[in-house]
């Protein structure tokens, strides 16, 4: 599912691109899976086809998607390991009783991540 938030200052193209990256990395959409056509996704989101095309082509440049005559597919090998997905699910579940936003939760993860990098320098 792609969600476009009109109140979000992030441009629609970037909202689509970043959510697709999240879906691919989290395994919600798997390698080889076909994505909706540019026309279908644009019509469903009530935006210009060029906006979706731009997001798709950015992800093609990053190597996450591939296009052919039969449509746009997810390239295999971009999903995170299952252990990471399970840990993320556990982390989100542990926040059920907390009143934190997604940004706040991500900030906490980011801080822990940076601390881990400091603790284990290359």
């Amino acid at each position: 599912m792609i969600v476009l938030d009109d109140d979000d200052p992030t441009p629609p193209f970037e909202q689509i691109r970043s959510q697709l990256v999240d879906h691919i990395r989290s395994g919600t959409v798997v390698g080889g899976q076909r994505l909706p056509s540019v026309r279908q996704l644009a019509a469903d989101l009530r935006i210009a086809a060029g906006t979706v095309a731009r997001a798709y082509s950015a992800l093609e440049s990053e190597g996450l998607l591939e296009s052919s005559r039969t449509g746009t597919r997810v390239r295999p090998g971009w999903g995170v390991p299952d252990s990471v997905r399970l840990a993320a699910r556990g982390f989100v579940a542990s926040l059920d009783r907390e009143t934190v936003t997604l940004d706040e939760a991500l900030s906490a993860v980011r801080a822990q991540w940076e601390a881990r990098v400091v603790r284990r320098p290359d």
Binding site: V3, L4, L45
Partner: protein, 315 residues
């Protein structure tokens, strides 16, 4: 009088079978807010207009075909044969010509699925076997009947003949190449218009408002079922009608008058009975599907308590 009795019996059995088949329905009521109910009410009116136009045009073409058949006896019933298929094609084209139903609502948060939509993704795969299977059955039987047919006095392949010693017997009208080739073309056109109508249903944008997605699924499922049942019904009526005629004619041709009296050639005589029985069953199935398509096309979007209908299973 006899024909009217047969038609009334077929319609009565079709209605009973339709009611029985419709008992295990895929719809259940869901609760929506007042804003969503207003959107659905407008969609309901558009759906009713589409249903009336679809059924009205199909019935109109059917009546016109029957009139043309009466006015043109030199075509040996060909207009009557093609009338149901043409009626279904025109009905489906009118259905497809209507602008796709779009459920629109005010929201600052628009959602879209990442699943591609195709004409064949509106329902379970097995549901598509019905029109496909009936189309293949009509074409295969038309070819087999064509191969078994023989030319009548005017040279058209619309008879069937059997030889028994020095005697021979011929009967018609038989669904030979004269009827079979137009029937095959009609079947292909009917299948193509079915795909076109399903493509129009699947190609319509889904609502961007989360609350409208379940009612939208219900509308799509109903539209797809109407299309599938209309086309499958017409094809089964064809298959059954042709089989019945072939059975009657084969049975007549298989009865040969010899010096010892009348004999029935076998296995042609038995084949005629089997064809006749199978044909009547196929006509009943087709008529039931047509009745179900009318039920779906005229189904109210709202239950009596004001709640809209939504599918248990998402298409």
């Amino acid at each position: 009088m006899f024909l009217v009795l047969i038609i009334v019996t077929i319609v009565a059995v079709a209605v009973v079978v339709s009611v029985f088949l419709n008992r295990a329905d895929a719809f259940r009521p869901i609760v929506v807010d007042a804003a969503t109910a207003r959107v659905l009410s407008r969609a309901g009116a558009a759906t009713r207009w589409r249903a009336v136009a679809t059924l009205g045009s199909a019935i109109g073409v059917l009546v016109a075909g029957a009139k043309w058949n009466e006015a043109a006896p030199q075509w040996y019933g060909l207009p009557l044969l093609l009338a149901p298929g043409t009626a279904a094609c025109i009905g489906l084209l009118v259905f497809a010509a209507f602008p796709p139903l779009r459920l629109e609502g005010q929201t600052g948060r628009r959602v879209a699925s990442l699943a591609p939509r195709y004409p064949w993704s509106l329902g379970p795969r097995w549901a598509y076997l019905l029109p496909l299977g009936s189309a293949i059955a009509v074409i295969v039987f038309a070819i087999l009947a064509g191969l078994a047919s023989s030319p009548s006095d005017d040279g058209n392949y619309r008879s069937i003949s059997f030889d028994f010693g020095s005697s021979s017997s011929s009967a018609g009208p038989y669904p030979g190449w004269y009827y079979g080739i137009p029937l095959i073309i009609m079947t292909v056109v009917l299948f193509a218009t079915t795909v076109l109508a399903l493509w129009r249903v699947s190609g319509a944008p889904r609502p961007a408002v989360e609350a409208l997605r379940a009612p939208d699924s219900a509308l799509r499922l109903l539209a797809a079922r109407t299309v599938m049942r209309l086309s499958s019904g017409a094809l089964f009526v064809y298959a059954g009608g042709v089989l019945s005629f072939a059975g009657l004619t084969t049975g007549n041709a298989a009865r040969i008058l010899t010096a010892e009296g009348q004999i029935t050639l076998q296995p042609a005589g038995a084949l005629g009975v089997v064809e006749l029985v199978a044909g009547v069953l196929a006509v009943l199935l087709g008529a039931s599907l047509l009745a179900l398509s009318v039920v779906d096309a005229s189904r109210p979007l709202f239950a009596r308590d004001g709640r809209p209908l939504a599918p248990v299973r998402q298409p």
